[in-house]
């Protein structure tokens, strides 16, 4: 069976989606921009992009009921790719916007880098995946972030990077992949990671009974 042809990208307001759209096309998928809670919950492939501030992004998600749709999507283990701020939105809160609750799907708080040489952390950094990670592999990926999660939560696999301190490069659990870096801007390494995320799920769904 062929991979599904549409990938749904959530409109989060201020995010620049052109790079995500271009990356989807390189994967042979047709990008669709969505802000409808029902589609966020049920579309086969959903991307939560992330550029901008934590507080403003959560406000947009709440306005459209997308926050609850995302919680249900993750509970039902449907494929989700969260990018950069998108990963941080899965956490309970962020130092960037004190008092604003995140989606609470990851038991962690996003904090500003404390020992980094320069912030934002801008450029290509290497990642080191945990032993049981399925789609994440060692490589060099492009980042542009000032906030990060400090450690991989107990019930997730993932990868770590170092920039004056160790921090979470990415998390994965079943069909959920959350990247602090930008796979859509990470050249061949990013393309291959996204291809593995897509095919891993397709393989599971199409396994013979």
């Amino acid at each position: 069976m062929n991979a599904p042809t549409t990938i749904s990208i959530i409109r989060t307001g201020s995010a620049n989606l052109a790079s995500v759209i271009a990356a989807a096309r390189r994967l042979g998928l047709e990008p669709a921009l969505i802000d409808d809670a029902d589609r966020v919950e049920r579309d086969p492939w959903v991307v939560l992009p992330g550029v901008g501030a934590f507080g403003a992004a959560m406000q947009t998600l709440r306005q459209h009921g997308i926050d609850d749709a995302l919680r249900r999507r993750v509970q039902h283990e449907r494929p989700l790719l969260a990018i950069c701020l998108g990963l941080q939105l899965l956490a309970t809160a962020s130092e960037e916007s004190p008092g604003v609750a995140g989606l609470g799907l990851i038991d962690a708080v996003a904090e500003r880098f404390t020992s980094a040489p320069r912030v934002p952390h801008m450029g290509w950094n290497t990642i080191k995946p945990t032993r049981s990670a399925r789609v994440l592999r060692a490589g060099c990926f492009y980042y542009a972030n000032s906030y990060r999660l400090a450690r991989i939560p107990a019930d997730w696999e993932g990868a770590l990077s170092t920039y004056g301190e160790t921090f979470v490069a990415a998390l994965e659990r079943g069909p959920i992949l959350a990247c602090q870096f930008h796979p859509e801007l990470s050249g061949e390494a990013g393309h291959q990671l996204l291809a593995r995320w897509i095919t891993a799920r397709t393989a599971v769904e199409c396994a013979p009974c």
Partner: protein, 250 residues
């Protein structure tokens, strides 16, 4: 480990890549999308496109060029040149830029930096500073080097960081296009004045110049002529940098 970035720069006018000396005497050399893709294949870490069109029609062409670059690039794209308003920034981001560089208008209206940073995030906002040596310090020139402002380059760098800039693109007006090497003292002074990343630009003729700039404190190096003339590929430069123990993405 965060690697040092090598950033080929395309000066684009009316849809063509051009190159000049000290911002003057321009000559056309290539199609921007073909060039950008070639540099990506060679291992460029990012592409910067500066629109130097002076006409409204040229600006409209630049938006189309950004969209064309985006479609063929899987690495970050910074776009600058003629950015005056927050709507200009939004248009460039929508067309496919990942970061937008603001120069002249930021000096006239520093609040624009704050507005863009709040709306799009600091990581989108690059402030381009064209520095020119004065007696005891570096001044800031604007309008493609035509006007000298009263600003001091280091003070201005601190101020743009304070206002929410995510990165500084620091060009030595004195060295631009001269192939006499980056202004290392300028790089050291500005990169120690701020804690946001600094991209050094202006004067590169070969790998040694790039290595010197990175050792002087630059987080990334931007160059144009050395790549356009085919004298060095990005891969050549990166190999030399790696041999000199500079961390690069190979």
């Amino acid at each position: 480990m965060l690697t040092r970035r090598i950033i080929p720069c395309l000066d684009v006018r009316d849809g063509k890549v051009v190159k000049g000396v000290r911002f003057q005497s321009l000559r056309e050399i290539a199609d921007p999308a073909e060039r950008a893709f070639l540099y990506q294949q060679q291992g460029a870490d990012e592409i910067t496109m500066l629109d130097i069109s002076a006409t409204p029609q040229g600006r409209a062409t630049a938006i189309e060029t950004v969209a064309r670059l985006r479609n063929c690039l899987s690495i970050p794209l910074t776009v600058g040149g003629g950015v005056r308003t927050i709507d200009d920034v939004a248009r460039l981001l929508d067309a496919g830029a990942d970061k937008v560089a603001i120069n002249t208008q930021a000096t006239r209206e520093p609040a624009l930096i704050e507005q863009c940073s709040r709306r799009f995030g600091a990581q989108c906002v690059v402030i381009a500073i064209d520095a020119k040596r004065q007696d005891e310090h570096w001044g800031v020139v604007v309008r493609s080097g035509q006007s000298l402002t009263p600003l001091d380059a280091c003070d201005w760098a601190r101020q743009v960081q304070q206002l929410g800039a995510g990165e500084i693109l620091l060009t030595s007006w004195d060295r631009d296009g001269t192939r006499s090497g980056y202004d290392l003292e300028l790089i050291a002074a500005v990169s120690s004045a701020v804690t946001i990343p600094v991209i050094a630009s202006g004067g590169a003729a070969g790998p040694d110049h790039l290595i010197d700039a990175l050792r002087a404190g630059a987080d990334a190096v931007l160059a144009a002529s050395i790549f356009h003339d085919g004298q060095f590929t990005v891969a050549d430069i990166k190999r030399d940098l790696a041999q000199s123990n500079v961390e690069v993405r190979l």
